[in-house]
């Protein structure tokens, strides 16, 4: 196929070594691509919603992850197919941008492709389908902002935020104590939020986990936790009103970067060098002491002698603290990170009301709590749980909840969840389709069909009759002109998501539709797949 003939009729090769490459073209290629994308979507479909199931993933090294988070599942799945990789990317970009709805976006994309396949069978050109989808997505996104409601909250009234985070958490394994975790997430976000600028820097929230205890023991700490202990076992375990020196230089003799040798050839030199060395340590500790520090946190290690001197002068110290933690400590305590002892001055020290060491369980695990900081804008969420997998999954869930809370602070428009928004969009797109002349009409109808996939999957995962439930809700929405009706996943007894308090953020939903449409368009436009065959 990739052969061409020159003017003398001799064949020449366009794609080199074509016999070693697998190649699929035209409608075949589109079909194969859609297949692959659908396979990915099918894996995630059952994870959707509050009754969604988890996936167990075993990594190449044999570690086990159990997760319900779409982005995590896809990330760990080690997909080999190119189109499969596109779907993974899709979920990842939703995760980066919004942080939630990573499963929904893949399921929507899968449904769109499924519908496109039917249209392709009818002989509609893929580009026309893509255009129709584009138009439909515009209408859908616009409609979303129409049905969106502003929702008010303030730093004193956090209840609405908590409710939204609870919706996010209810599909995860941590749903048992979703109320508590939602509150923690909201408080954490509010602590670091800049309400005037409507901005939240999630980097200021550190999520730390420790195996053991119950999920209910998870707590929000207004300060920083460092998984380290005092450098000397006999240093005090509790320091009140600590003045913290944050250092990035080791308590060791200096190591000049230029290459050098110090030659010792006489006894005097030997002696003086020894004296010098002793002085170094003395000076270092003295400089810290002079600056008024009562706690030293250092990124590097200590020499045994320096360690003892610190202890001897009553200056507790922590060594080998990671760079990220160091920055957070600096932010929280209002201190400056000091790279040289000489530059240590009293105003560069950080302040913390209480620094304490806490030990866990029967093993010698200890952690350092830095609390009551002068600037409480860095907080830590400390997760406890029965085992490592629970902790990891909780971390991911908390991350989702944090993102949702952040999105709400950025933009406080919401739409209702439980598939209600999708059903409403589907109705609008379907109605709009009739007014469009041309082949795009079919594509738009297909789009409306595809939107039904999310509520359908929700109903299916909740053990309801998918078609019955969906049609009933749809009819009700049309009759009552109420876009808040969705699938009653938890058997509460009402379809009205407003009453059930199930929200999602408007940007999250809009992003889902836009991203899914984009990826689908991209996949539809591919008509030739060339892969080097495996050797």
């Amino acid at each position: 196929m990739a052969l061409a003939f020159d003017e003398f009729g001799r064949p020449f090769i366009i794609i080199r070594e074509q016999e070693q490459k697998a190649r699929v073209r035209g409608i075949e290629a589109q079909k194969a691509n859609i297949m692959a994308a659908k396979a990915v979507a099918r894996i995630l479909r059952t994870s959707l919603g509050p009754k969604g199931m988890d996936k167990m993933l075993q990594s190449p090294d044999g570690d086990v992850t159990i997760s319900n988070d779409g982005a995590t599942i896809l990330e760990q799945m080690d997909v080999d197919n190119q189109i499969g990789k596109l779907m993974v990317e899709l979920s990842r970009s939703q995760d980066y941008e919004i942080g939630d709805g990573t499963t929904g976006v893949v399921v929507t994309a899968g449904a769109l492709l499924e519908q496109a396949e039917l249209l392709l069978d009818r002989g509609i050109h893929p580009i026309r389908i893509a255009e129709g989808y584009e138009m439909a997505s515009k209408i859908a996104v616009e409609h979303l902002s129409n049905i969106a409601t502003k929702f008010e909250f303030s730093s004193t009234n956090i209840e609405p935020l908590v409710q939204t985070c609870m919706t996010t958490l209810s599909s995860k394994i941590v749903s048992r104590c979703k109320r508590k975790l939602a509150e923690i997430a909201v408080k954490a976000v509010l602590a670091v939020a800049d309400l005037e600028r409507r901005d939240v820097n999630l980097d200021l929230i550190k999520v730390e986990g420790k195996v053991g205890g119950k999920l209910e023991d998870t707590e929000l700490i207004e300060g920083i936790i460092v998984d380290k202990d005092m450098s000397h076992p006999q240093m005090p375990k509790r320091i009140e009103n600590a003045k913290i020196a944050i250092l990035t230089c080791p308590f060791e003799p200096p190591k000049p970067k230029t290459k050098h040798k110090v030659d010792i050839d006489t006894v005097e030199k030997f002696e003086s060098l020894r004296e010098q060395e002793r002085k170094y340590f003395d000076e270092m500790v003295q400089l810290c002491k002079d600056a008024g520090a009562t706690l030293v946190i250092c990124q590097w290690g200590f020499d045994d002698e320096a360690n003892h001197l610190l202890m001897n002068r009553g200056l507790p110290a922590v060594r080998w603290v990671g760079g990220v933690e160091l920055e957070l400590i600096a932010i929280a305590t209002g201190g400056r990170i000091v790279p040289r002892f000489q530059e240590l001055t009293p105003d560069k020290l950080g302040n913390a009301g209480l620094v304490r060491e806490k030990s866990f369980g029967t093993t010698k695990d200890r952690m350092l709590y830095i609390e009551q900081c002068s600037n409480s804008r860095a907080v830590t969420i400390f997760i406890r749980g029965g085992n490592k997998m629970i902790i990891e999954e909780t971390k991911r869930s908390i991350h989702d909840a944090l993102c949702v809370a952040r999105n709400l602070i950025r933009n406080n428009a919401i739409v209702y969840g439980g598939g209600s928004a999708e059903i409403s969009m589907s109705l609008v797109v379907d109605a709009a389709a009739d007014k469009i002349p041309g082949v795009e009409q079919y594509a738009m109808r297909a789009f409306a069909e595809a939107l039904d996939a999310v509520p359908m999957a929700l109903a299916e995962n909740s053990g309801l009759q998918p078609i019955d439930t969906l049609t009933a809700v749809k009819a009700q929405q049309v009759k009552e002109k109420n876009p808040h009706l969705g699938i009653d996943c938890n058997n509460v007894g009402t379809n009205d998501m407003k009453e059930q308090n199930v929200f999602e953020t408007l940007i999250g939903k809009q992003q889902q539709i836009l991203l899914a449409t984009q990826v689908v368009k991209m996949i539809l436009k591919i008509d030739d797949v060339i892969t080097p065959s495996s050797y």
């Binding site: 396979a39 086990v64 040798k261 030659d263 010792i264 060395e277 093993t363």
Partner: protein, 529 residues
Amino acid sequence: MAIGSENLFKEEATEEKGERARMASFIGAIAIADLVKTTLGPKGMDKILQSTGRGNSVTVTNDGATILKSLHIDNPAARVLVDISKVQDDEVGDGTTSVVVLAGELLREAEKLIAKNIHPMTIIDGYRMAAECARAALEKRARDNKADPVKFREDLLNIAMTTLSSKILAQDKLHFANLAVDAVLRLKGSGNLEAIQIIKKAGGSLKDSFLDEGFILDKKIGIGQPKRVENAKILVANTAMDTDKIKIYGARVRVDSMAKIGEIEAAEKSKMRQKVEKIIGHGINCFVNRQLIYNFPEELFADAGILAIEHADFDGIERLALVTGGEIASTFDNPESVRLGHCKLIEEIMIGEDKLIHFSGVDLGQACTIILRGASSHVLDEAERSLHDALCVLQQTVGDSRVVLGGGWPEVLMARHVDELARKTPGKKSLAIESYATALRAIPTIIADNSGLDSAELVAQLRAEHAKEDSTAGIDVILGAVGNVEKLGIFESFKVKQAVLLSATEAAEMILRVDDIIKCAPRQREDRM
């Protein structure tokens, strides 16, 4: 469908979906539970573990966590169970077998429910409600004797005996329970198990094990130094006593004649001498160093009549610093500000064939040493693990002093309350709640089975007994009948039981929620074998 999923993953990666995934994880988890099942209870059997590493070393153990830790498991669900037993070990130290067995039983029951077409989420809902109800029931019946020290000690002793009775130490459980309780009570609630040192010495019998109030260091005293020091002032140090290197980077010695080498050597010697003099200047008569002490300084110490101990490892000096109240020193310029450790008497003692250094009459009365004697190293290892379990449980109980009865009593009690809950609950959940009760009752059944008793009969009798309020009936494995466990003195820590209950439920829930298992292709490794 086949086209799409065929090449979705890398080669050798596998995916299992829906029912098959669930089956695979159930079977894996239940297999693990069945593996450790026979070690449960006072008449549980031990397992021999042979490592594949060099020497094919053999471990004989009854401890669930140790068994599971040594297994190489491929099944992902089974790993979840291994994980919870490890956490149980870290967190409360005991109940490592129970937690796996309970989780296994919960899954076994869940499997039956799924066969009846009940959705896993419904089962999870039911399990959660049941777990909460069981916990509450147990909490209500827990008793707290903290206020009364005599009774509290009795509780502790009973708990220790219950824990030890399933282990190799069962023969001398009273002896060891006393040892453990004494050791933990010495900590005075500080809960720092590091202060309790366990030294294993082969030889003698388990009965010869004893608790020593004080501290024993498994080291030798330097030659020519006093073997016995009274009213010792101890300096605990972490410093180089070989050749004290200059730490300034890039320093090296370069000389042009032999004479100069001699001079530098002399300077080095004098440096060491000064250092030793400074150390002696602290007014001590015992010096313990973490690092080596070379012959030269050792000789100097011997001349000054100071007992010098070299190469005490990290744990050793930290504990020694802890018990003698001294600080670990690395510089010796300010003798007045260094806190020295004190003890009444240091002497060399003999245990079996070995000489050890014994510090008695230490400042801080918290520390103590337990010396284990036993016929072989396997016995000693297992004894240490058992004792460790007991110590952990006791430490936890000192922290949370609530205790409950043992011997199948808590399970049957919880099962009864859960059963009641099932009757009140409408909907399919009640089936799951009922199954939870059945799973709980499986524990006494296994204990009875392992003891060679008629489990069905016993558990049925036990249920009947528990229909009465405030029953204290449990299984008496010695008589092979239902007995009053309160009178038999079988107690367990509430905290351990609660942790077993919650972790097992959590693990079962996690496995139940899975409907898809994706195994990535194993990483290619070069064959080194």
